[in-house]
């Protein structure tokens, strides 16, 4: 079942086209990731989806609610985490959560009980009565995500949820995102961390210069760029003298020596390994390890977008 449906969405700022006729959909209960460099159109897209920005053309529906025509109705089922922790510095953690609950019309008892529950879930119960300004970056981020969950939204938008925070907080946030997905929450996430997208997302879209250049599951994206199978073999001794014989015996493979005791077998389609292992065994070579090598999502991103991942990491201060 579709939770988000975006059709031919375009946003222009003067002559500059920030989002250029993009279309995609997000299924209920999945984590959908938007991956791209700064200025790619990620934030403009998310801002249109949450009803903060009006598109020049296109259509957005969330749970069959037209966001452009009925933004307020759609916002009732959304939890929104901006790319900055934008809670109130003067208020403590508990008061911030209660205030956010009140914005969604929650009664006093209900929002106080949910706030306590969330502080516990995010391991912030000891900091609940401290002002937000006294929180560390990681704690601020966690409280901002908790605030987006106060009204138990069906749909959660996370704009760069782990940017610029410590490793432990990032790990906790990722765990919580997966926990929310398991509870049935649909999550739309923008990130420039490829590893994070790979680890969390069911499906990913690469966005560059306002256009979606590729989308699909990690497996589909990898298959789009990789049309060969690479098998890495680690042996008990030097195999360099046997590569020609191996190549002659098995015409469908290409053999490359990586190290004296490590070779890579490349094939156009999957083949059984046993004959190769037998052949090597006859030559008194034992294979200790055989592993299929897949291209990483990073390789796929670079190939499809032409953007080096170091560019993404420099923009946001690294992973």
């Amino acid at each position: 079942m579709t939770m988000i449906c975006v059709k031919n969405l375009t946003k222009k700022y003067g002559n500059f086209t920030a989002v250029d006729d993009i279309s995609f959909d997000v299924k209920k209960g999945e984590i959908f990731g938007f991956l791209g460099p700064n200025g790619a159109g990620k934030t403009s897209t998310i801002n249109m989806m949450i009803g903060l920005l009006k598109p020049n053309s296109g259509k957005i529906t969330i749970n069959e609610i037209d966001v452009i025509k009925q933004a307020k109705k759609a916002q009732e089922i959304m939890g929104i985490v901006a790319d900055e922790s934008n809670l109130y510095n003067e208020m403590d953690g508990f008061a911030n959560l209660c205030f956010c609950g009140a914005l969604y019309g929650m009664g006093k008892k209900e929002r106080e009980s949910k706030a306590r529950e969330l502080l516990k879930l995010f391991r912030l119960q000891d900091a609940g009565n401290r002002p937000f300004k006294a929180y560390s970056k990681g704690m601020k981020r966690k409280l901002t995500i908790a605030a987006a969950l106060i009204h138990s939204p069906e749909m959660l938008f996370l704009d760069e949820p782990t940017t610029g925070i410590d490793v432990e907080s990032s790990r906790q946030i990722r765990e919580l995102i997966l926990q929310l997905k398991n509870q049935g929450t649909t999550i739309f996430i923008t990130t420039h961390y490829i590893e994070e997208a790979e680890r969390l997302c069911d499906r990913i879209a690469f966005i560059v210069q306002g256009k979606i250049v590729a989308s699909g599951t990690v497996f589909q994206l990898m298959n789009n760029v990789s049309h060969s199978h690479n098998i890495n073999l680690i042996t008990n001794k030097d195999v360099q003298d046997y590569t020609t014989a191996l190549q002659k015996r098995f015409k469908e493979i290409t053999v490359t020596v990586k190290k004296p005791d490590e070779l890579v077998i490349k094939t156009a389609k999957r083949i059984p390994l046993l004959p190769i292992l037998k052949f090597l065994h006859e030559k008194d070579i034992e294979v200790y390890e055989a592993k299929e090598i897949h291209p990483s999502l990073e390789d796929v991103f670079v190939k499809l977008t032409g953007i080096e991942t170091s560019v993404l990491q420099k923009e946001k201060g690294g992973f």
């Binding site: 903060l52 920005l53 959304m78 009140a102």
Partner: protein, 243 residues
């Protein structure tokens, strides 16, 4: 009901976070007080009653425009204002919640010179119902002007600069210090386009029975300004969102 909960909590947050902070309370008391004392010392021949409409109007105008311009610009720069815009409440409810705190602060400001004057003169002849209504409507229109400025400015200092650009000419054109009849012909139409002209005139009528227009005309004009400024501010917020 949901909108009411949101409205009440936005108002409560603003009062607790901004208006009840010691620097703002002291500003709310000290500014009208020093303005009052300055006028009394400089105009020894004038009666306190004659000065009161001007002191009340000035206190409300400065109190409301300063506070709203600062708080909204501050929330916009920290992006917490975005949180309010994304809540499932109408923009009307949000705007009303934001200006209500300022209106209350402005009314509190207005009563500083009144209380001060009460120590020296008898205020029993004043038509208090009319004064409270006028103070309320001056506070509403000034708050809406503050909102309009806050939406247009990026930084707090910018908001204050723009505020002064409007506030000082308004004070001198609204008939409080210089009668409108004494103004040059080309400035007179400008005076009639200022909400403060009508607010101050009501106060003059209620305090010294020295008003130039009828109460009905002034109240109608203030209500028109309220609706107009509310509509323009709403349009400005919506337009700003799409930039």
């Amino acid at each position: 009901m949901k909108s009411l909960i949101a409205f009440y909590n936005i108002l409560k947050k603003d009062i607790t976070n901004y208006y009840l902070k010691p620097p703002n309370i002291s500003w709310g008391i000290i500014f009208p007080l020093s303005w009052t004392m300055m006028q009394l010392l400089r105009s020894v021949d004038s009666s306190i009653l004659e000065l009161l409409p001007g002191l009340i109007s000035t206190s409300v105008l400065f109190g409301t425009t300063s506070m709203l311009a600062v708080t909204i610009t501050f929330e916009r720069s920290g992006r917490s204002f975005e949180r309010l815009l994304l809540a499932p409440i109408s923009l009307n409810t949000l705007m009303l919640a934001k200006i209500t705190g300022t209106i209350l602060f402005g009314m509190f400001n207005a009563f500083v010179p009144i209380i001060f004057a009460g120590f020296f003169i008898n205020l029993s002849d004043i038509n208090w119902i009319i004064v409270i209504l006028a103070v309320f409507l001056i506070a509403v229109t000034s708050s809406l002007m503050g909102l309009l400025i806050a939406v247009s400015a990026q930084q707090v200092f910018e908001a204050q600069t723009i505020s002064n650009f409007f506030r000082f000419p308004m004070l001198f054109l609204c008939g409080l210090f210089i009668p409108i009849s004494s103004l040059p012909v080309f400035l007179k139409p400008l005076s009639y386009c200022l909400p403060l002209t009508y607010g101050a005139d009501i106060l003059k009528g209620a305090i010294t029975s020295n008003n130039s227009f009828s109460y009905t005309l002034c109240f109608v004009m203030l209500l028109i300004f309220t609706v107009g400024l509310f509509t323009v501010s709403k349009y400005a917020i919506e337009k700003k969102q799409n930039q």
